[in-house]
């Protein structure tokens, strides 16, 4: 046993897969301590806040400031409010209004703005200009007005129906982020419900792995039992089991999975029910391969000896056959876990996964991201990390499987 383990961990593929998987498990275990709370809590009002650090504007106003005179601060501010494309659009406006701009340098912000404020009026409707374009110029106008706004903004406070000045902000005022009372880091932003994607994803990864494990155990148990029986007992038992197995092999497993999930109805579809259903539809290949391995084993001398000694069927199978195929079963189990996780993701993506709100799963996260068109509106953080996680889990499991295969499969052994 010890020797086998040493051999197994000697395989670099297995080792990499194993370390990856352990890292994932560690994250699931440790992260909730760092960021406690309900992973389904809707902290954001609104959909898909992008990843980044969020600083409370209100608290920042109340935080002591330092004055920094940064030489490029004004330029940066202007760049954000007035891009090069905006300057071109302004020139187009002058062109439409037939204003002579031959001696205007578009990079000269002051001159450009002077001319703009002189001629632009939100109520003008140039002939043939679309509503969308007119709205664009309105927004541009509002934006460039900020460039010309005063260097100091006043903070007003309503008191008994009147506004009382409470402070002011200068363009050169800076706060240290560390001093602000409320700063929230959202490494992966929020999803369509305003939930913290990273927190939700860590929790979902745990659920998905559990679903994979349950599905794997169910599938392996059924496959192993039927395979052992069919292979060892043979005869009509074999015929019947293989008849059933072949039927299930021919029906595409995923179609069956969809039909069963649909007919169970959403009310009953908890995470564990979905896991069991996945297990119930994915045992056939285990049965077939276990059976063929058992057939090659059952006429070995040690098995015949056991038979002659009058040992029971259960004992012979458990002590004389199972140990010889154990490595194969473990490998098959690992693959079942991996495919169980994928199956949950696929089912949930079709809206047939576990019922929502109770537990997050990776598939459900992708389902909601898709329903809210995250893939077309550029909110990559809502689904891409999820896909990456699923890939990593399956990759680590498959890597472990390949490593084991290299150790146990005589034809692959170095």
């Amino acid at each position: 046993m010890k020797n086998t383990l040493r051999q197994v961990f000697h395989s670099s593929k297995f080792l990499v897969g194993f370390i990856l998987f352990v890292l994932i498990l560690l994250t699931i275990w440790i992260y909730p301590f760092l960021n406690p709370g309900n992973p389904l809590e809707m902290i954001g009002v609104g959909t898909f806040a992008k990843p980044g650090t969020y600083v409370s504007v209100y608290d920042a106003l109340n935080t002591g400031t330092e004055t920094l005179r940064l030489p490029d601060a004004d330029d940066k501010r202007v760049d954000q409010l007035l891009s090069d494309a905006d300057r071109v659009s302004m020139l187009e406006w002058f062109d439409i209004m037939e204003i002579d701009v031959s001696d205007l340098d578009a990079t000269d912000t002051e001159a450009l703005l002077d001319l703009w404020f002189e001629h632009y009026d939100q109520s003008i409707k140039p002939k043939g200009m679309t509503q969308a374009k007119r709205n664009f110029y309105k927004r541009l106008d509002n934006s460039v007005r900020q460039i010309r706004s005063a260097d100091t903004l006043k903070i007003m406070h309503p008191e008994e129906g009147e506004l009382v000045e409470r402070g002011s902000i200068n363009k050169t005022d800076y706060v240290n982020v560390g001093d602000v009372a409320n700063v929230k880091l959202l490494p992966l932003g929020t999803d369509n419900f305003g939930r913290d994607v990273l927190k939700e994803m860590v929790s979902a990864t745990g659920t998905s792995i559990v679903i994979g494990l349950i599905a794997g155990i169910v599938a392996t148990l059924i496959g192993l039992t039927l395979g052992l029986l069919a292979g060892y007992v043979g005869g009509w038992v074999d015929d019947i089991i293989m008849f059933i197995t072949n039927i299930f092999t021919v029906i595409p497993g995923f179609v069956l999975l969809i039909l069963i999930s649909y007919s169970i109805g959403q009310e009953q579809r908890g995470a564990s029910v979905v896991a069991i259903v996945i297990g119930l539809t994915s045992w056939t290949w285990t049965t077939r391969s276990v059976r063929s391995q058992v057939i090659s084993l059952r006429n070995r001398d040690h098995v015949n000896l056991s038979k002659l000694s009058g040992h029971s069927l259960v004992r012979i199978v458990a002590t004389d056959i199972l140990p010889y195929i154990a490595s194969y079963v473990v490998m098959a189990f690992i693959l079942q876990v991996s495919s169980g996780i994928l199956a949950e993701a696929q089912l949930s993506l079709l809206g047939l996964g576990p019922k929502t709100t109770v537990t997050p799963t990776l598939g459900l996260m992708m389902n909601w991201a898709m329903l809210y068109s995250a893939h077309t509106n550029g909110s990559w953080w809502a689904y891409f990390p999820v896909i990456l996680t699923i890939t990593l889990i399956s990759f680590s499991l498959n890597l472990m499987n390949t490593g084991l295969d290299q150790v146990f499969n005589p034809t692959l052994r170095d």
Partner: protein, 598 residues
């Protein structure tokens, strides 16, 4: 040699398949882009019939819409409703006048109004349409049958609509009669005769007749329809170019609607400029112009971008004792729900908040908001997310957690409710998630449930169902008879116990006092008295909470891509053309003002 032959055969097969597919495409791909206005979000699936007197036509471009705006591209109503200002504008008819006692309304048809075959539209046409509608029980017949007794011609171009009277000789509901004026399409008497004759007078076969030979009066008619596309072509002999109506023809020669598989497909087509007018909910629609820089705009430039006329509502099921017997529970859940999150998430802020437009029985339009006394009910209104208030309400009502499992009990049993809406209705699903989250915070277990649409519709329209505790449906949006119709849907007794109930009061709430007031309103014409009655109803509604609205929502979405066409109606253009997809009610006026870009 054999192989070569097989290869040739296969190649021939592939090529012939190609030509077949191409042939089907050819007809519609030839539509000149500069003469065609493309739509999305109205027609789903193949058109089944053009029979305006039938049912189940699945013909959303020509036979659709209600009193808030009938889609008058091909079949026309007597009048057009403008939900922006409540105006009722003449179409086939010129004017109408109520009798003093509100028992009948006399209508004068336009002199110029003609059918596509050149014959004039007469009072006999209207009377025939009505008689046969009632006889066969089509939408017009079943919607207005309870309110209109008869339509009698008094001349070639004049007729009277007689309201149904109750035992005391008062009209049952004059408001619904007005709805008929803007909501019922008129068909030609001669054509109806042909229709009835060829179906031997059998109601079922009349309703299912494909109506390919239908006679229309509107500016467009069918040009092409299959499972990919519906195309209408302008009828250049349209009577409406007469000075007494529009004075010109609508601008686009063709109206085309590609049949998209789902909302995202339609949205992509809008972004690509393949669709000009899109009647679909598009989340974060401002990103289309702010981030993507597309020439797309909505009716209003800022949120809520459209005109919200309806309020998707969560109904409490009064068949469940725990809900029926505990107004405190109903109110507690309603005040605990975080509506700002619903509006920001589900509607991506395309709805005013309940702080902007406090909840009542009214939609957010100025006309309806003026119909109740805001100060009188201010204490009863809530903006949501009031967890402490909800907990206090429940504690006070004795609905407490007695066994320490974190959930409250009623009569010793854990209160466990479900929140239900159809699967795939994303914005409603998101709302139900928020309702469930509120339950979690106040110790009431609420789980979400999303059955498929075909299951959902049979359950929630069943007056005896106890499967759904909190479920969603929208009341009526706008029409001449609103807000009365909507109020009746919220509080009226008429619909309680009705099998296959699509009409209203889906929670089966009964309140005699409210019902008496509702019956009184249609006969009340005094403005002050009306406000008084509506205020009383609002009080009852906000105290009893038989249902709670989750958001305000446009009944039609209106996003336009100005790559080809421009001068679509906009909130600030002073024309007061409603954002009704350029097709419904007075919204069709937009088609006469369109211009090509550049």
């Amino acid at each position: 040699m054999k192989k070569l032959l097989a290869l040739l055969l296969a190649a021939a097969l592939v090529m012939s398949l190609g030509t077949v597919a191409f042939g089907a495409e050819a007809d519609v791909s030839e539509l000149p882009r500069e003469e065609t206005l493309y739509f999305a979000g109205q027609q789903w699936g193949t058109v089944l019939s053009w029979n305006v007197m039938g049912t189940n036509q699945n013909n959303s471009m020509t036979i659709a819409g209600g009193p808030s705006g009938y889609r008058t591209l091909m079949f026309e109503t007597l009048f057009m409703y403008n939900f922006m200002n409540g105006d009722i504008i003449g179409l086939l008819a010129d004017s109408y006048e109520w009798s003093e006692d509100l028992t009948q309304v006399s209508v004068v048809l336009k002199e110029a109004a003609k059918w596509c075959d050149g014959t004039p539209v007469t009072a006999a046409d209207v009377a025939k349409t009505w008689d046969v509608s009632v006889q066969v029980g089509n939408t017009t017949g079943s919607t207005y049958g309870a309110y209109i007794d008869a339509i009698e011609p008094t001349g070639d171009k004049t007729f009277v609509i007689k309201a149904k009277l109750d035992e005391e000789g008062r009209p049952v509901n004059p408001l619904k009669v007005t709805d008929f004026l803007t909501g019922a399409p008129i068909a030609q008497a001669a054509w109806i005769d042909t229709l009835v004759e060829r179906n031997g007078g059998d109601a079922v076969s009349i309703l299912n007749d494909p109506g390919d030979d239908v006679v229309w009066s509107g500016p467009y008619t069918k040009y092409y329809a299959d499972d990919q596309k519906v195309v209408l072509v302008r009828d250049d002999n349209y009577w409406g170019q007469d000075e007494s109506m529009w004075g010109k023809l609508p601008v686009p020669k063709y109206i085309a609607h590609t049949i998209y598989a789902d909302n995202p497909a339609g949205e992509l087509a809008l972004k690509a400029g393949e669709v000009d007018v899109c009647q679909q909910f598009i989340g974060n629609i401002q990103d289309l112009w702010l981030k993507d820089g597309l020439p797309i705009s909505t009716y209003y430039e800022e949120a809520p971008y459209g005109v919200c006329l309806t309020m998707p509502t969560a109904w409490y099921n009064m068949n469940m004792p725990v809900l029926a017997e505990n107004p405190a529970l109903r109110k507690a859940i309603a005040i605990a729900v975080d509506y700002d999150t619903i509006i920001a998430n589900a509607m991506t802020n395309q709805s005013p908040s309940f702080a902007d437009v406090p909840r009542s029985l009214m939609n957010p339009t100025d006309g309806e908001q003026a119909l109740y006394n805001h100060d009188a009910v201010a204490d009863l209104q809530w903006a949501g997310n009031d967890i402490e208030g909800a907990i206090a309400l429940l504690d006070e009502a004795g609905l407490v957690d007695t066994d320490g499992d974190g959930w409250r009990e009623y009569n010793g049993e854990k209160i466990s409710l479900n929140a239900v809406c159809p699967n795939g209705w994303t914005d409603w699903q998101a709302s139900m998630e928020v309702v469930a989250a509120a339950g979690d915070k106040i110790g009431v277990e609420i789980t979400t449930l999303y059955p498929e649409w075909d299951i959902y519709q049979t359950v929630f329209t069943n007056p005896n169902q106890t499967e759904y505790a909190i479920f969603m449906w929208s009341p009526e949006a706008a029409s001449p008879s609103n807000p009365w119709t909507r109020v009746n849907q919220f509080l009226g007794k008429d619909y309680v116990g009705v099998e296959n109930n699509w009409s209203g009061n889906w929670g089966q709430y009964v309140n005699e006092e409210a019902d008496a007031i509702i019956k009184q309103i249609p006969l009340t014409t005094d403005e002050a008295e009306l406000i008084d009655l509506y205020t009383k109803l609002t009080e009852i509604y906000l105290t009893e909470v038989p249902s709670f609205s989750l958001m305000y929502r446009p009944s039609l979405f209106h996003a336009v891509n100005e790559s080809v066409w421009t001068n679509f109606p906009a909130g600030d253009d002073g024309r007061e053309i409603p954002p009704a997809d350029c097709t419904d009610g007075y919204g069709i006026a937009a088609l006469y003002d369109l211009e090509l870009v550049g």
